[in-house]
């Protein structure tokens, strides 16, 4: 438990000290919101949610890439793989929640007639999915540039796809779009439950994949045997 918390804490400390990155993290959802501000409020809420998703997954991607050299070392220092990826994920989730709070308040003060609980749940789903997604891409693609481009593609496709198409349901952030509809357009509760279920499934899938990847990368090598200390 202590190891998990320590990794989470150091992930947070590290990210919070990257002031430039943090500023851009906050700036991106804000601009997304402002650009769509004049049109339908639903558009700006959806853009804001995508902005948060993009920001948190990018942070996760960078944190994962930055720790690439360090993790084998921590493994030798006594950490198990799950301490490393779960700890990092916890840190990223905490950061994502902290980043979401001001944006939630923004929707409360800047828009009327919304189901605010829905906005909050949608943001939670974004953060829940974004952290493991960024970590997954960071673990698969060793270079940050490639990872960033892939992430950009995912978010752009998500934005452009017709949400009612079946392909859209395969996208990681489809949940937030469904829940946003419930919150903005006051659609039936099916939207909310479908969204939450989608987010839960996607998060779980991503988590398992990340666990698998880390487990393989940080596995005990077969050629190395440990003898008892005499």
């Amino acid at each position: 438990m202590n190891r998990l918390v320590t990794v989470a804490e150091m992930t947070l400390r590290e990210l919070v000290r990257r002031r430039g990155v943090l500023l851009l993290l906050l700036l991106m959802p804000l601009t997304f919101w402002l650009i769509r501000r004049d049109s339908h409020v639903g558009q700006s809420v959806r853009a804001l949610l995508l902005g948060i998703s993009w920001a948190v997954s990018t942070a996760a991607l960078f944190a994962t890439s930055a720790a690439r050299e360090l993790e084998p070392r921590l493994r030798l220092a006594g950490y198990r793989p799950h301490h490393l990826y779960l700890g990092r994920m916890l840190g990223l989730w905490a950061l994502g929640l902290a980043v979401s709070v001001p944006f939630f308040l923004l929707t409360v003060f800047d828009a009327n007639n919304l189901r605010y609980a829905g906005i909050a749940v949608a943001m939670l789903c974004c953060v829940a999915v974004a952290a493991p997604l960024g970590m997954l891409i960071g673990a698969l693609l060793p270079r940050e540039m490639e990872g960033t481009l892939l992430l950009l593609t995912v978010v752009a496709v998500q934005m452009l796809l017709d949400p009612t198409s079946s392909a859209a349901k395969l996208m990681p952030f489809w949940s937030s779009r469904e829940i946003a509809s419930w919150a903005v357009d006051h659609t039936d509760d099916g939207y909310l439950s479908r969204g939450v279920l989608h987010a839960a499934v996607v998060t779980a899938l991503m988590l398992v994949t990340v666990a698998g990847l880390f487990g393989v990368r940080l596995r005990r090598r077969r050629h190395l045997r440990h003898a008892p200390l005499v």
Partner: protein, 272 residues
């Protein structure tokens, strides 16, 4: 040869004769004080460094401790290919508790690869490694976290062994002091100089008191004094019974190691 040079040569002689590090430091300091107060040529006052070191050994003996101890690292038949290029062929190394082994060879002969295989970070195509006890590994670079303080590195590494924060910080600072570095700074790792960052790197690898310590050219960016401190520290760890493997391309400190593994291919172009 001036006083400082004589003292340095004397220190090297003491190390070579396996005089315990702290005892050696006292003897050297006392000789330095004597020379400062009385003046005179050290060659006349104390004689040749070798002879005086021998006299000291006769008086106080050498470092205690069993040597060589039990085998701590045993790597046999390590072979590694990248594509069609064979980087390592049938490399074998045995290191016992209380020994320092040097892995040497030309650039690109697979020194770092060999060390990474010993650490279990990459798999060989053939061969086995047996390690007794805990492993510590210090990479050539990139083992530190840019946006964390030295103390936070110590806490993070220490927690892996279930160490509480306070003791981890103290252990880290104490190990850093042995390298002549005051780690109580509030400077992020990315603002540390290359040599200091390497000291942080090294301190992280010794923090958890590993039984087998693998170091990949640990002295990058070190000045002369830090370099001497490093070897003092390694001698101290060896005397405590650790098994140490150092990858190095500098040959002048080989007189302070117990075994040498030369990975330079015996026959150039003889690859199959």
């Amino acid at each position: 040869m001036n006083d400082d040079e004589w003292l340095r040569a004397f220190g090297a002689e003491l190390h070579q004769r396996r005089v315990a590090v702290d005892a050696a430091r006292h003897v050297i300091a006392e000789a330095a004080t004597h020379l400062r107060e009385g003046g005179g040529d050290p060659w006349l006052v104390f004689g040749p460094p070798q002879a005086y070191a021998a006299a000291i050994v006769e008086s106080i003996g050498t470092a205690p401790g069993p040597r060589p101890g039990p085998v701590r690292l045993h790597a046999t038949g390590i072979t590694k290919r990248y594509g069609r290029r064979t980087v390592l062929r049938d490399a074998t190394l045995t290191v016992r508790a209380g020994q320092i082994a040097a892995v040497i060879g030309a650039n690109g002969c697979g020194k770092s690869t060999f060390l990474r295989i010993c650490a279990g970070l990459i798999s060989p195509d053939a061969g086995e490694v047996t390690v007794a006890g805990r492993l510590g590994y210090c990479p050539q670079q990139g083992g530190t976290i840019d946006f964390l303080l030295p103390d936070e590195h110590f806490v993070l590494v220490g927690a892996g062994q279930g160490m509480a924060r306070g003791p981890a910080r103290r252990a880290g600072r104490a190990a850093a002091r042995q390298l002549g570095w005051d780690a109580e700074s509030t400077v992020l790792a990315r603002h540390l100089s290359g040599g200091t960052r390497q000291k942080l790197n090294l301190t992280m690898s010794t923090l958890a008191a590993p039984d087998v310590l693998l170091l990949d050219e640990p002295y990058q960016g070190f000045d002369q004094g830090s370099y001497v401190n490093l070897w003092d520290q390694l001698a101290r760890l060896r005397d405590e019974g650790r098994a140490i493997v150092v990858v190095t391309h500098l040959l002048n400190q080989l007189d302070r190691v117990d075994t040498v593994l030369d990975l330079t291919p015996a026959q150039q172009g003889g690859r199959r």
